[in-house]
Amino acid sequence: MARQVSVPSLAAAAVAAAVAIAFADSSIVVLALPQLLDELNTSITPVSWVITAYNLVVAVLALALGSRLGRASARRVGLAGLVVFLAASLGCALAGSLPVLVTLRCVQGVGAALLLAASLPLLIALTGSERRGIAVWVGAGGVGAAVGPALGGVLTEVFDWRAIFLVQAPLAALAIPAVAAVRARPLPPRVGGRRTALLADVGLGLVFAGLAGALFLVVVLLIEVWGLSPLTAAGAVTALPLATILGARLERPLTGTRAAVAGSLALAAGLLGLALLPATSVPLVVWALALCGAGLGLALPFFGVRSLEGPDLAGSAAHSIGARHAGLVAALVLVAPLLASGVTTGGEQAALGSAAAVLDAPVGITDKVSIALALNDQIQAAPKGAMPDVDAAFKGRSGKQVEQLRDRLVSTLEDTLTRSFRPSFALTALFALLAVVPALALRRRE
């Protein structure tokens, strides 16, 4: 006999889907950044605010809501969050300029913070038990973070970056009747360590700061510098969530602090691997991302569970959300200008390297000087961090030697620009490495 799906189960699934998409929104736009970079005619630092703004608002609001949420009606807060999130998602899909998009992402962040902060009491009420509610909440967060970048990449490739926001609206709309019907009671106070939750939140923030490097930087590198399509880049980036799932399974034999320390070190090693790329090699990127993913899978459950161990479950959940997004924001705020500065220097180095290659190339003098100067113009014209249009510098020129020179220049530019990502990856590796400190501090308390 077919198992009947109960109304509360469907309602829990609808709320879990909305929670997953709100978590996914931290990174879902990552693979659309290059398209936004081109379409909105901007550069890395301004476009990074499409991600930063959302995460910043979620972090600040979730941390501010914190323990206040225990006294508020989760149903009302959740409904308000869903309505704001739905309206802002539609607005983002229609945005025609970067300032409008960033503003609407802030509004979307307000909705997401309200929804996420209220979602744990709602899910506990819908599933009928604290244990199941927490499991669904943690699972929805994990699924959202895992599928976010790949889903965004597929939607961008098949449709447009606007599709990313359009698909969020029905998910939010479906959750509205589910939340409206819930009778969530305030969660009872628990015996828990505020200090344990705080240390775990610091660990979560640092791990998520490392995650920003693995996602934001890799995507910009793969699409803008190496010229991969969003779909191919999504395929490469999928190594991260797949390895995260595998890492979470590895956590069982490791358990406790060892899992968190091993996970943080693996994440740092993967990011260091990305910093030390010796070629434009997708397999090496996948290998490094797999290491990052395994590290995340080990470290996140440890920090995630302990971050909910505060005396007030709803408040701890809000702080946990705030810590994750604060980590992402801190990384993005520090990494975006570091990357912009790196690629500016890298662009100059690339122009000089190209000039050297052109001067030594066995082509005619007219081609030599013209190509070197035209290429410099293309490097100047390209958005910061993006690969210049080498073909434009070779317009109207043909021949075997010219072709060979073109290939050599593409290689010089890719290599120089790839190297310019090094300091940014190294910084995010440092964040991941620092997550070992709260893990060890928690060990002393256990």
Binding site: A355, A372, D377, Q380
Partner: protein, 154 residues
């Protein structure tokens, strides 16, 4: 899978990745190696008009960059009307004077090597000394056309 095995597998994967990257030349990857200022560079060899012009232009670029204390690549890019100034830490007057002097000197050397006839060298020297600097740069990239014209002079 035991805890030790998990840690060993992760450590091995991390060390192997970093080892492979370092063995593939990660340390120097993407670095641009330019010759030092005044470093002797090999001028293009071979006969024909284009090779002659290359020896004159690149020789002049080498000499001027040496006198300016920079590399020939930086000097070349500084001549770009679009954003060339970001490669420049010298003043325009020095650049113009040194470019003209170096071009004249390079033409002299070409004449001594037998690459240019006296007439060709004379025309080019005058052009290098008197023409507006923008024109000199443009002419430098089209010297083969100019020499073609000079050959038509009886």
């Amino acid at each position: 899978m035991s805890a030790r095995l998990v840690i060993a597998a992760l450590a091995a994967s991390a060390l192997l990745l970093l080892g492979v990257e370092l063995s593939m030349g990660a340390r120097d990857y993407g670095e641009v190696h330019l010759g030092a200022s005044c470093e002797q560079t090999q001028l293009p060899t071979g006969s024909g008009l284009d090779r002659t012009v290359q020896r004159i232009v690149i020789g002049a670029l080498d000499q001027a960059s040496c006198k300016l204390g920079t590399t020939r690549e930086r000097l070349l890019l500084s001549l770009s009307p679009n954003g060339g100034s970001r490669f420049k830490d010298w003043n325009d007057a020095d650049e113009e004077r040194l470019l003209r002097d170096s071009l004249v000197s390079s033409i002299d050397e070409a004449e001594q090597r037998g690459d240019l006839s006296g007439l060709e060298a004379g025309i080019l020297r005058e052009l290098a000394r008197r023409a507006p600097v923008d024109l000199v740069v443009q002419a430098a990239t089209h010297l083969d056309d100019l020499l073609g014209l000079a050959n038509l002079v009886p």
